[in-house]
């Protein structure tokens, strides 16, 4: 059984861990944090587990270099962002040569529909993820982190390693693109609150 979710992980628990069980708990906590962040940035997709594993490996390797200049979650967000970005680059090269058989059905929003029992919500969520997928990775990350996850511009800038003006510019562009995509989507026509 996983240890209970503690308060937000601001300081790496590894530095304070006294024995093996504490290290294990800390790594599970780190994994949980990374899972949330990678899922936020990449969306529900078939290779999410691979991404989380890659991000966890990166984070554990880079842990000694964490200088506490930002919050720990911002630092891990940066790792998750770079992992997703690298993976997307590889994936775009891969897709030039090969194609996945069940690309369209790769989105796993069943959890949402299980929880809410709302077919319309599931459809909208699926369409939203598809629309976000069409955005360039850098712009997608900015709009997801700022508009959907509620991070401040400064934090987003730290995550994507860019200055705030660049982030603002990307945000405006991403909003325009997402809005134009959603305008043509009949699932977002009616106001019906999910």
């Amino acid at each position: 059984m996983l240890p209970p979710i503690s308060k937000p992980l601001d300081v790496p628990l590894f530095t304070r861990a006294a024995d093996e069980s504490e290290v294990c708990a800390a790594s599970t906590e780190l994994l949980r944090l990374l899972y949330r962040q990678v899922r936020t940035l990449a969306g529900p997709r078939p290779d999410l587990d691979d991404l989380v594993q890659a991000a966890a490996e990166r984070a554990l390797k880079a842990l000694p270099t964490f200088e506490r200049r930002s919050a720990f979650s911002t630092w891990t967000y940066g790792i998750a962002y770079r992992t997703v970005l690298d993976h997307d680059r590889w994936l775009s090269r891969f897709r030039r040569r090969f194609s996945f058989a069940e690309d369209a059905d790769g989105l796993d929003v069943a959890s949402a529909s299980d929880v809410e029992h709302d077919a319309m919500l599931a459809v909208r969520a699926r369409r939203l993820h598809v629309a976000l997928e069409t955005l360039p990775p850098a712009k997608r990350a900015v709009i997801v982190l700022h508009d959907l996850e509620g991070l401040a511009l400064k934090e987003v800038a730290a995550v994507v390693s860019a200055n705030e003006r660049t982030v603002r510019s990307r945000l405006i562009d991403a909003r325009k693109k997402l809005a134009s995509i959603l305008t043509n989507d009949p699932a977002f026509d009616s106001e019906g609150t999910p």
Partner: protein, 284 residues
């Protein structure tokens, strides 16, 4: 951004918030990933056995293939050995032993000189043998051995007289070098002559094509010439191609060819100027 678009974005944000995975779902997925990370690497003994078997079979096949090729390789090495100077000393020693040490110590340099003189011929001959061995030949190995043998065999049969005035070892070396040089020249002269013949044939085709109005034939021949032979030949052929393009009114091609000719290293400046001039005067 219109009000409708803003409304859609707000709706998207609400959908995003409503479909966030629950803590239980996250825990379930994290557990799966953690198990995956901690799981030891799977080692299937059957797969390892199959891999081992494939390696053994591959190695055995490689050995069998090498064994079938071994006589040819040995033959090739033997022919190369016959052509090299160190063999000279070994054969002299062997001959002295086989002839019952008939030759006196004083006669040894003379014998060596005569041997080296004859072995130069053998070297040339064996180099020929080496060349033919590399080619796909139907001649069996025994035939090749017979062709390589006469040098040493012949000396033994002809019994080089020890009292005969013979070449000194320096002279013999010089003779060997000269013979080897001749052989090299003969070897390199043949392909050069072939290339010249081919080039003259192609130039004849160009002339015939231009005379008969068959520009396709001339173009093909010029294209072949443009990528073979000396720099001079290549440059001239490209000039011809430029002129043909100009006559066809294909100015873009003419210009491209002329520029390509100008970039050709070692091209005659006069030819380049003519080509550029022709391309400049081209009228579509």
């Amino acid at each position: 951004m219109t009000a409708d678009q803003r409304r859609r974005l707000e709706l998207a944000a609400r959908v995003w918030a409503a479909t966030k995975p629950t803590d239980d779902a996250i825990d379930r997925d994290v557990m799966r990933v953690a198990r995956r990370i901690r799981a030891p690497k799977r080692r299937d003994p059957f797969r390892r056995f199959i891999a081992f078997l494939i390696a053994i079979v591959s190695f055995g096949s490689a050995l069998a293939f090498a064994a079938t090729r071994l006589p040819a390789v040995t033959e090739l090495i033997a022919s190369v050995d016959n052509a090299e100077p160190p063999v000279l000393q070994r054969s002299v020693g062997r001959r002295r032993g086989s002839d019952g040490r008939a030759a006196s110590e004083a006669a040894t340099p003379a014998l060596a000189g005569a041997q080296s003189a004859t072995d130069t011929a053998a070297a040339a001959e064996s180099s020929h043998v080496h060349r033919t061995a590399a080619q796909p030949s139907a001649a069996p190995a025994s035939v090749r051995r017979q062709r390589a043998a006469p040098s040493s065999q012949g000396l033994r049969e002809h019994h080089v007289p020890v009292h005969e005035p013979a070449l000194s070892s320096d002279q013999a070396r010089a003779a060997a070098a000269a013979a080897a040089g001749d052989a090299e020249k003969a070897k390199s002269a043949k392909p050069a002559a072939d290339a010249e013949l081919e080039q003259s044939r192609l130039w004849r085709q160009v002339s015939e094509g231009l005379a008969g109005g068959n520009t396709a034939l001339a173009t093909v021949a010029l294209q072949k010439l443009a990528f073979s032979g000396s720099d001079k030949t290549r440059a001239k052929a490209r000039l011809g191609l430029v002129q043909l393009a100009v006559s066809d009114g294909d100015c873009a091609v003419a210009r491209r060819l002329a520029v390509g000719l100008a970039e050709l290293p070692g091209a005659d400046p006069g030819v380049v100027v003519r080509a550029l001039d022709a391309a400049r005067r081209c009228k579509p």
